[in-house]
Symmetry: C2
Subunit: 307 residues, 2 copies
Amino acid sequence: MKHLTYAVVGTGAIGGYYGAKLARAGQEVHFLLHSDYEYVRENGLRVSSCDGDFCLPAVSAYASAQDMPKADVVLVALKSTNQHLLGTLLPPLLHPATLVILIQNGIGLEADVQTWFPTQPLAAGLAFICSAKTEPGHIRHQCYGSINLGNYSCADASLFQTVLSDFCAAGIDAHEVPYLEARWRKAVWNMPFNGMTVALHTQTDALLQNPATRQLIYEQMMEVIGAAHALGIDALDERFAQKMMQMTDEMVPYSPSMRLDFDFHRPMEIHYLYTRPIAEASAAGFAMPRLEMLERELLFIDAQNTR
Amino acid sequence: MKHLTYAVVGTGAIGGYYGAKLARAGQEVHFLLHSDYEYVRENGLRVSSCDGDFCLPAVSAYASAQDMPKADVVLVALKSTNQHLLGTLLPPLLHPATLVILIQNGIGLEADVQTWFPTQPLAAGLAFICSAKTEPGHIRHQCYGSINLGNYSCADASLFQTVLSDFCAAGIDAHEVPYLEARWRKAVWNMPFNGMTVALHTQTDALLQNPATRQLIYEQMMEVIGAAHALGIDALDERFAQKMMQMTDEMVPYSPSMRLDFDFHRPMEIHYLYTRPIAEASAAGFAMPRLEMLERELLFIDAQNTR
């Protein structure tokens, strides 16, 4: 197979990291930037990483998707609060076989993008990474870094495998996972911790040290697992919830991405992290009262925080 | 019947108001004070009221229950976070027929006091009042002021009726109500609004203006009503929840007592307002997931707020 070309839509902490890794490994990667376009065009990207720092002094940077070439693979790493922008950002980048990989958190992302682009091959990218873009063109990768790819609608198995190989060749720990299970598996951690750290102005460690909120977090995880069961995903069970609790016990005190969005008065990703999974569970006859209550608290907090 | 004597345990915004009204009407009332004992002994009590201001230049004030005479009626208006003090505060005030009226919020208060004083006649006092003690000996009564009395274990109907008459003669809008129903009826408002104004650092009006929290408050009210049904109280229904929503829409923006406790870093009345009603509902087979989640959030907030 010929060498694939990549485009990164949303060159932030996540898109910037994976794109830079691919570019460093020799892949052709085109980056769409927003606030730090000028800086990156002149200075390139810099990655301070627990796995070793590196710089890309010259990257293929763009301020507008209109100016970008079509790509074989598009990595979408926008905040999902900006998902409505994809209707204008994606078309210039797509040929009929372009694989669009949504490296975003939540449930229902691929279904929506497929509605807007009915024949486009889509995949989910589940990133397990602590990283942040702290200044223009500078990504700080603190720990972890693996990515799981779930095939949503890519009929070209060879294309999908080549992308996996490209990620692995770039030094990224990448695996194929069953799409729906992987999205819900990640929601088991994301739904309790993202919202609760915002609702209680705290971090993961304090939530787990208080017996009342520790119990609540566990019950919320079990609501996600119950929803997954209702949707036919049997691989998750209470042992997985216990494992997530234990893993978080062992992590450094952590502010999930929604807490950072809150702190910086950015809109929070409530729709895909809460509203959509709750709606999908409800359609399958399963109620998530604790996470629905959290969603409503977050909607209130978001309205106060971004006005 | 001979003239009754009254004792007030907890001469704050509530106990001070009803005690002062009774004293002004000529009843013998003995007040147990704490922080403002010296001030009240020298200057008496002052009530600034929407119904007309008045002063009691000399009141029968005590710093210790040990020094007080026994009373025919004890009005308990302590914060329920101090309920453990009743074991020492009440005995000096009680003769075998003394009626103890618990003018406090929550569920399970009478059951506990009855355990500690198994043969004492008990009643519940449900106060509908906005008032605050803003400085020593000074009670500001802003609006409302009625009290409902529910008979828990007073076999002496004549005593109970005399208390009602005394309240009415003192210009207090007082009625007898069925005990258990009255406690749960008040919980329909108290459980959602007390905790949610703390959890979201807000007031009643903002909770009702945001569509997400308006819906949540309504669902929480319906959880209380569902619990009441499970306990055999049929008088409450969704029309009552709608009425409570509408009444609160028409109120001035309001901080319930738990929000004031939070603001002043005092312990919050989580046990009798949340833990006990949730446990009673659970024992009757009814789950209150939203209010249980709120309880857990409040336990976390309380631990951070009072340390």
